[in-house]
Amino acid sequence: MQRRRVVLTGLGPATAFGLGIEPLWAALVEGRSALAPIRAFDASGFRAACGAELPESFDVKEFVLKSYRKATKVMARDIEIAVSAALTAVRDAGLTTRGTDPDSPPTIEPNRFGCQIGAGLIAADLDELTAALWTSKGEQQQFDAQKWGQQGMQDLTPLWLLKYLPNMLACHVTIIHDCQGPSNTITCNEASSGLSLAESQRVIERGAADACLSGGADSKLNPMAYLRQELANRLAHCPVDADATTAVRPFDPNAAGSLVGEGGGILVLEALDSALGRGARVLAMLSGTGASQSFCEDTVGLVPGANGESLADAIEAALRDAQLSANDIDAAIPYGCGVSAIDAIEADALSRVFGTRATTLPLVTLAPNIGATVAGFGAIAVAVAAKCVIEQRLPARLNSQCTPGVCAIAAASQSVALRHVLVFSPSLGGQNSAAIISRYESQGVA
């Protein structure tokens, strides 16, 4: 039986360069980095005081209808990013939804419209919580549960919990755009977005929806979430007066860690028949996905496996799913965060899949520009991959001076023939995700 083809019809990345693919693409082609001292909180007490934040002008209220503005009060930053990215994607796809125009009929039937969003472990806003905890101190200035139960907890807004449940990203997005089809929230750290896109692909393939808002969002720029990144050995040493734009050097033996970028992306994934039926502009195809689990000597994957075998399995599963061979792949976007142990398994996976060609297969590295985007990564990378096959161009690469075994040395943007671009990421916890984005040609499979 012919499989239902899944294509991308709308891109909504949200990064430090702003909302939408154009500002991100321009920065990547020009080789700009948004890494800078963190504004969200005083990060001087951490190993890295720099990261990549959404622009100061970002305001979620501009991305919801007036009738929904009140609900923005119960949105953690991660939710704000997802909500803003979703509207950006919906507009890019030319869709009418309840969130763009509540008085017009929606382009996609609500019960045929799904939503799969990857999310991180959302940390509570410490300003709000600590103001409440402060009234529940005991005599030794410690937390007193009895005072908290009696009175302190009353200082939290009744909907407090709903700011931080990971599925509230999808909850708000489904309410805003009236997506009544299958909806899910994947929480697998750096693999979250990639695995969400794969799930949307399966949902559309099996006919449970015609289109899905899919992707992920994450902001680690909160002291607690940020500390967890530091404790997971992710952060480079980067004090506030260092040059953060040169700090992240993926695949370079002198790489010394990563910096965090908040962001994510929502994409419109759509059945090809649905896209053609409504005369939509097809941007690219999601031609295959794959997933696997690594063996981690330390169980949790702080040290991400001894080698790239399982990550290579995920890439090979994606190739099989797309009915392609390794030779068909023209470029790849790895997680490429500049943490040596993670870079090493990515390089090993590439060499297992591509053999000697791994040394010449051009890589696209995003972390030097927008930081390591954790649960948001897969969606941003797939949006960039789509743009690569549309523009037939690779972005510039920054910072890395020597990248043995892989092709990731700093280079200017160049025009290249690109039919299939691979995106992949391993994760803390050992889950691996891979996806192949292909150039869309109206004759069908490229």
Partner: protein
């Protein structure tokens, strides 16, 4: 029912429970059959002054009894510990451990596991250290100084919701697709549904699936108390959770894990495994309504039930040749909140019409509380046991009829019944609805 080939049939070959009622399938099931309650005062922290002071806790649990080498799980949080116990039972029952030629790359994981428990005392200490009288903002540098000293690396890493995946993968050598979904109270029903879909698609031969969660901690109880979702009944905690009763006043928190091994039928048969039941339908929908309220007509729940029944080839409005309604039993979400139980009843009537009254529907949450992300998987297993034993678990504490709620809730005592096909519903905060249909393996 549509004819499916063996490669397009998915069966359950193992199951396991770690619940407030016991640490095995048999122990828990027997207590459910006896209408026993797992509720008691909260012991994990001092909840004496909280609006809700009780919960259903897993007691006297030792993960070391379930795993090959406890050292590799030494830092596991409670969610991972519960998951290991339940999954080890399921794995043992499936017999996969003895299957020498098992291709571990064709074995996957799909869990609905919750976020881990905060290291709360240390966390609160760091927060208070970063605050001053009259402040409106945390002094993050001071916070970092204290947090670096008092928060431990592994304790923090283990809070990530994908850590139960890591522990189970390590324990069973799993190398296939691995995913965790966290859709609040619907998570593990959804996980099983998606795991089933992955096998149908051909992405794996075996999936270990289910849920694990505890929210019995300071901020968990706080969060649900602020939402006024929990029962605040005074007196005997075993009477606090009263699903479908007119006097119901909220749910009671439970904790634990339910895990199953799902397997492609031809794979199970080829290795001589015993199928326990067959999964035949899965549906998923979003209310897309409001962040706090359920769509009042039960639209979302009805949509997920309709999808699952359609996939199973079951017409909810038709009767079988022997006169029985289309389904023999519904495992309700049945939280015991005013809103859920009313709307769930409405949704079931919307789907089954006049037949709804003939289909027994019970909620085990009155006995073991609401296991949040783990609830759906635990309840899915009750459906399999109902088919196995021809017995339906009761809805306890059902004493006062709510005039609006006029279905057969299997009040107070377990019931003997002919059970071949069951439907299990889970609905989550945020409007997530998921349904599974499971039938006797033939």
């Amino acid at each position: 029912m549509s004819t499916r080939t063996d490669s397009h049939r998915v069966v359950v070959t193992g199951m396991g429970w770690i619940t407030p009622l016991g640490h095995s399938i048999d122990a828990t099931w027997q207590r459910l059959m006896r209408s026993e309650s797992g509720m008691g005062p909260i012991t994990r922290f001092d909840a004496r002054t909280f609006p809700t002071t009780f919960a259903a806790e897993v007691r006297d649990y030792d993960v070391a009894k379930f795993v090959a080498d406890a050292r590799v799980h030494a830092t596991a949080g409670l969610n991972s510990q519960f998951a290991l116990g339940a999954a080890s039972q399921a794995w043992a029952q499936s017999g996969l451990a003895r299957h020498a030629s098992l291709n571990r790359k064709r074995v996957g994981l799909y869990l609905g596991a919750g976020e881990g428990v905060l290291d709360f005392d240390q966390y609160a200490a760091a927060n208070l250290a970063g605050w001053q009288d009259g402040a409106t903002k945390l002094d993050a540098a001071r916070w970092a100084d204290v947090a670096h000293k008092c928060l431990e690396q592994m304790r923090e890493v283990e809070q990530e919701p994908n850590m139960p995946l890591a522990h189970l993968a390590r324990e069973f050598g799993i190398r296939g697709p691995a995913l965790n979904c966290l859709t609040a109270c619907a998570a593990s029903t959804q996980a099983i549904g998606e795991a089933y879909s992955l096998i149908l698609r051909g992405d794996a031969d075996v999936m270990v699936s289910g849920g694990t969660h505890t929210m019995i901690h300071v901020l968990g109880v706080t969060g649900f108390n602020r939402l006024t979702a929990l029962s605040t009944s005074k007196g005997d905690p075993t009477k606090a959770s009263r699903p479908f009763d007119a006097t119901r006043d909220g749910f009671v928190m439970g904790e634990g894990s339910g895990m199953v091994v799902l397997e492609r039928l031809e794979h199970a048969i080829a290795r001589g495994a015993t199928p326990l039941a067959e999964v035949v339908g899965y549906g998923s929908s979003a209310d897309a309504f409001r962040i706090t309220d359920i769509q009042p007509e039960g639209r979302g729940g009805a949509a997920s039930m309709h999808q699952a029944l359609a996939q199973a080839g079951i017409d909810p409005l038709a009767r079988r040749s022997d006169g029985r309604a289309a389904i023999d039993y519904i495992s309700a979400h049945g939280t015991g909140t005013k809103e859920n139980d009313s709307i769930e009843t409405r949704g079931v009537k919307r789907v089954f019409g006049e037949h709804a009254k003939d289909i027994p529907m019970s909620s085990i949450k009155g006995m073991m509380g609401h296991l949040i992300a783990a609830a759906g998987a635990v309840e899915f297993i009750t459906c399999i046991l109902a088919i196995r034993d021809g017995m339906l678990p009761p809805t306890i504490n059902y004493n006062t009829t709510d005039p609006e709620l006029d279905l057969d809730y299997v009040p107070n005592v377990a019931r003997k019944a002919k059970v071949d096909i069951c439907l299990s519903n889970s609905f989550g905060f945020g409007g997530q609805n998921d349904t599974l249909v499971v039938k006797r393996y033939e």
